[in-house]
Point group: C2
Chain length 250, copies 2
DNA sequence: CGGAAATTTGAGCAATTTCAACATGGGTGG
DNA sequence: CCACCCATGTTGAAATTGCTCAAATTTCCG
């Protein structure tokens, strides 16, 4: 596991499209990534564990990583799912306590670009655009978490599931007419904070709200409309959410 | 309502103790606050409403302000409660959409220092310590929101209430032997995302977990210990939370 | 002191979790 | 290539728990 991979070309092409680094020149990108490396994680490998010291800023190159927390009684709850292009540990970088509060494991084979934090912080001081970008990213992240809280407080479980599926479709650019779930249902349930049994019972009932689910196959009957209260709420919620959150973790 | 108050001494003393501005000299503090003003809001006055343009960074001088969101069906859900020393709208400052997404009203007579955002942003560029402090504050805020999500997903309602009361006691420096709730129960319920009836039924049952509540009067029987699963979870949760979050909104 | 607001209490209801049994399914070793 | 196995997902029924509606109290203020 964890085999490091080094190409000749450097990694600047990986981070070039990340908004945070959009202000940097080609040279700067090259320098920023010069002591970074891409690591390969096999299925179920840990990227980090709760209590580990924070050493890197992580940027997903490929694959899927879930970040989760285990409560003392063994309950496991997924806080984020990261996919290609996502950056994680950006908030943790600035907490006094330089230690991970969550576990992160590869859901399937994953390639992750890892930037040593000292180097990143150095660059942050040098280039104002990075710290500005980071402020925006953190603000966005905080806002997204706030929405998540609200979602839990105001939506029914059925609405949350519908909302999740719609968001999934939009953020992945899937065809609303029909697409395949990118992860296992148990992961979805864990992300939504519900039991797999509950999810299993809810999915068939989404038909009434214009979402047909068959196994891993999902299709939206009314891509935009949906006149009932539930769909309205969900759509409004997502419209707002999606307007603000781009290329952010699901 | 909304009468502006101007003293001769300026407002530097109000923000001096805010970590964000700890790096500034006396002169700088003075300049930063020169176009700020303290506003007085009477009970139920709005500080801002959903949809309003964001014009100020707010710093609580005195009183209590609640930030909340109304869902389309009229349900009102309290996002944060701010008290003396708290700063709000710091995250919103950096969202693309320069508009408030929540309402904020004074719970009781409140005095709020309001810094025009243009000026604040100007200072942020000039003084690195401010943007560094802001990064830390936002990271903390995001982390806190993440904990809030987890709290909703993993705790029973009873645990949430217990956790809230313990946090309240610690963050306000109240005497665990006995203190008076600083706000109405309906506000607490709204903050916890539960119905007032549910809270009303839970409070008496907290006796079994070492918390005695009589009217507005609260006292902890076992200030530290509490060997049962519930208290343990709650205490651990709070210990972690409080270690990281200081002078933050409840 | 009187009336409105806030809180408590009761009863029934709706929804999710839990526990348990059963189906599916992909992958492995024989 | 097939049988078997373990992980994953589905389904049923009972138990829990918070919510809704309604009525009774208490508290707060003018």
């Amino acid at each position: 596991m964890l085999e490091a991979i080094r190409t000749n070309t450097g990694y600047s092409d990986i981070i070039r499209n990340i908004p945070l680094f959009s202000g940097l020149s080609e040279d700067e990108l090259e320098k920023l990534t010069e002591s970074a490396e891409i690591k390969r994680y096999a299925r179920n490998d840990y990227i980090f564990r709760q209590g580990d010291a924070i050493k890197h800023l992580h940027i997903m190159r490929d694959g899927i990583v879930k970040e989760f927390r285990k409560s003392p009684d063994g309950y496991e709850f997924t806080t984020s799912i990261y996919e290609s292009g996502a950056m994680f540990c950006k908030a943790e970088l600035f907490l006094k306590d330089q230690v991970h509060h969550t576990d992160a494991v590869a859901v399937n084979t994953a390639y992750v670009l890892e930037l040593p934090i000292e180097q990143f912080k150095k660059y942050m001081e040098r280039y104002e655009s990075i710290s500005h970008g980071l402020l925006a990213a953190l603000a966005q992240y905080a806002f997204m978490k706030q929405l998540e809280v609200e979602q839990h407080m105001t939506m029914t479980t059925t609405e949350k599931v519908a909302s999740f599926l719609r968001h999934l479709c939009v953020s992945h650019g899937f065809d609303p007419e029909g697409f395949t779930l990118p992860y296992k249902k148990s992961l979805i349930a864990s992300r939504l904070g519900i039991e797999i049994e509950t999810l299993s019972r809810i999915l068939p009932r989404l038909k009434e709200h214009g979402i047909i689910v068959n196994g891993m196959r999902v299709s939206f009957t009314e891509p935009e409309a949906g006149r009932d209260a539930v769909s309205c709420t969900v759509i409004d919620f997502n419209r707002e959410k999606e307007a603000i959150i781009r290329q952010e973790a699901v």
